[in-house]
């Protein structure tokens, strides 16, 4: 039994030391990114089903892809990005245009995001253009269809200004360094790991990359900051509200985040 005791304690204590050592390693040294995100980018958890019994608070990260350069404003978040075959091969994916063998696995890649920058401004601009076009059409032909289109585009614009996430996906890479060098010196850039899966469309012979999810999707709120969040409930997706909290987050050397402060945003 002594043998079992020693091996067992080594496994239990050693594993915990390794896990906590990894956490310390991530947080020691200079952070790779420091951002102050708000409720727009960090959603509260759902409070239904088994989740009701969970007393901990984890904030989920909301990110988006920008509307295509020459496309009109699209209010829904598409997670499909168009790429060329060479770009997919550079990302480390195998040949995907084999008709009979389209089953390609997901890969973990480095994703670069821009927070509250040019991409968000461009999105607001496109939403405005869309609203103005809908307004002009309605003024020319004031019928029910055009009226609802005008209302919808007005809501989209308002959401874009007040409540939509400002964290935009820029590009993916198989190497961290290439993204870090490309965006060095920019304070509003975040590089994290995420899962992506390529697709080949046999009809139009195009390639795309489905951005599945981030490797760390949620950020735990420690007890010392939980008080600020205690009375808040998750906002309905259709509601247009100003964010109620701002969260200071750092990302360490292993690209894992942690909360350093949370403040209430006074209305």
């Amino acid at each position: 039994m002594k043998k079992y005791l020693l091996i067992g304690l080594t496994i239990l204590i050693g594993t915990n030391l390794a896990a906590l050592g990894g956490v310390a390693y991530n947080r020691i040294g200079q952070a790779t990114a420091q951002l102050t995100l708000t409720e727009r980018e960090l959603s509260l958890p759902y409070n239904s089903g088994a989740q009701k019994e969970n007393s901990g608070i984890s904030l989920s990260i909301n990110w988006r892809t920008p509307t295509g350069k020459n496309d009109t404003y699209y209010p829904y978040n598409s997670r499909d990005i168009k790429l060329t075959k060479d770009e997919l091969l550079t990302l480390g994916f195998a040949q995907t245009d084999n008709k009979d063998n389209y089953w390609i696995e997901s890969r973990e890649l480095y994703w670069a995001f821009e927070f509250d920058g040019a991409l968000h401004k461009a999105e607001i601009k496109k939403a405005k253009v869309k609203y103005q076009a809908a307004l002009a059409t309605y003024e020319e032909q004031p019928n029910e269809t055009n009226s609802s289109k005008k209302t919808e585009s007005n809501e989209s614009l308002e959401k874009e200004i007040k409540s939509n996430s400002r964290l935009f996906f820029i590009e993916a890479s198989a190497e961290y360094e290439s993204l870090a060098n490309k965006f060095s010196g920019q304070q509003n850039i975040l590089i994290v790991k995420g899962l992506a899966k390529p697709y080949y469309n046999n009809n139009d012979k195009t390639f795309s990359l489905l951005l599945k999810h981030l490797s760390v999707r949620n950020i735990m709120v420690p007890l010392e900051f939980a008080e600020v969040m205690s009375n808040f409930k998750r906002v309905n997706r259709r509601d247009i509200t100003q964010p109620r909290y701002a969260v200071d987050i750092s990302w360490g050397s292993r690209l894992e985040p942690w909360i350093t402060n949370i403040n209430k945003i006074e209305e």
């Binding site: 039994m1 696995e105 735990m220």
Partner: protein
């Protein structure tokens, strides 16, 4: 007999042997084949009753049919008890962790599996039947799983397949310390998943997608099948059977999936070719393990081989005939195939029986 010389299974085998001997003696006496003098009969009976008492006291074996039935009930109760307690601990932590500071959360997560591990070892030494030590061991394992997954959530750690390696190591350790097959099952599942994840990662996929390529399970299943040949499991009842059955499930299920869905194979052939290849492999391999099971007297290997051979056969029948054959003929053909299999097994059984009588 004061110290444990052999396993509980061996002791139970001896008890069953004594009962069989006693019953056979009565039959022989009734048929007038044998008449043992009363003094010798009482000597044997005295020896047996003393031996049964000692075995019962040392190994907690069942000395009657009623106690055997009760033991089965106790095993089922301890299995459900252990699983329910493991789930309860998870929800208990979930319910209150939001009110606890991070250092205390970490402290609880680390000390819970350690204290339950110590308790399970203590109970395994004290108990004869080890029901409670097995429950404590399973709850300890689930606390360790909770430990790592919750540390991951608290500190927003990137998920890693290495967790499966340490869970497997701890599950194996507890299985051998407490002689618990359920923990061995968890150990085999965890270590096989870990190896499959690593193979998947080497081939370029994200580790959690390891199930997308069923071939990832071939190497772990082979290792799990070979392991009981290399390590002596005499003291651990049912461990060899668990290893072999799990290994066969892990090799036959992927083959069955690939024989119907060739697109998810690593092989870069046409789907139909891949499916045909794995169908052939499935038939040959299941027939081979039936033969191996009969040869090595591994009943569980023969039975698992039988089940998968029939599954391969029936899925093929379904592929060929389901769409165009009237359903009554389809099921009639299935019935005929079962009868044919029955006849084959009967012939094998008869030849085995005659070999047994001759020897």
């Amino acid at each position: 007999m004061e110290e444990k010389q052999f396993s509980q299974a061996d002791a139970q085998y001896r008890v069953d042997q004594i009962h069989a001997f006693q019953q056979e003696m009565v039959e022989l006496e009734n048929d007038g084949v044998l008449a043992i003098p009363p003094d010798q009969t009482s000597k044997v009976q005295g020896y047996h009753s003393q031996l049964l008492q000692k075995l019962s006291a040392t190994y907690d074996v069942d000395t009657s049919t009623q106690s055997k039935q009760l033991t089965l009930g106790m095993k089922i109760a301890s299995l459900f008890g252990a699983l329910a307690m493991a789930i309860s601990i998870f929800f208990l932590f979930y319910q209150f962790w939001g009110y606890i500071s991070t250092p205390i959360q970490v402290g609880i997560l680390i000390t819970a599996p350690i204290s339950l591990f110590l308790l399970s070892l203590h109970l395994a030494q004290k108990e004869k039947s080890s029901y409670f030590s097995k429950i404590a061991a399973l709850v300890s394992l689930s606390c360790f799983v909770l430990n790592l997954s919750m540390l991951g959530q608290i500190f927003n750690i990137t998920p890693s397949p290495n967790a499966f390696a340490v869970w497997a190591a701890f599950a194996f350790l507890l299985a051998y310390a407490c002689n618990a097959r359920l923990l061995l099952f968890f150990g085999i599942v965890s270590v096989s998943s870990f190896i499959a994840m690593k193979i998947g990662t080497w081939s370029g996929m994200y580790w959690i997608s390891f199930g997308e390529r069923p071939e990832n399970f071939f190497i772990p299943s082979l290792l799990v099948f070979i392991l009981p040949q290399l390590v002596n499991h005499k003291r651990f009842a049912g461990f060899e059977v668990t290893y072999r059955v799990m290994a066969m499930i892990m090799i036959f299920l992927p083959i069955l999936i690939l024989s119907n869905w060739g697109k998810i194979s690593y092989l870069s052939w046409y789907s139909n070719t891949i499916e045909g290849f794995y169908q052939l492999i499935g038939f040959v391999l299941s027939a081979s393990v039936i033969w191996l099971g009969i040869k090595r007297r591994w009943g569980e290997v023969t039975n698992t081989g039988n089940v998968f051979f029939i599954l391969f056969l029936y899925t093929k029948f379904f592929d060929w005939w389901w769409d165009w054959m009237p359903k009554y003929i389809f099921f009639f053909v299935l019935g005929l195939a079962a009868l044919l299999a029955l006849m084959v097994f009967k012939r094998i059984r008869l030849s085995n029986l005659s070999e047994g009588v001759a020897s």
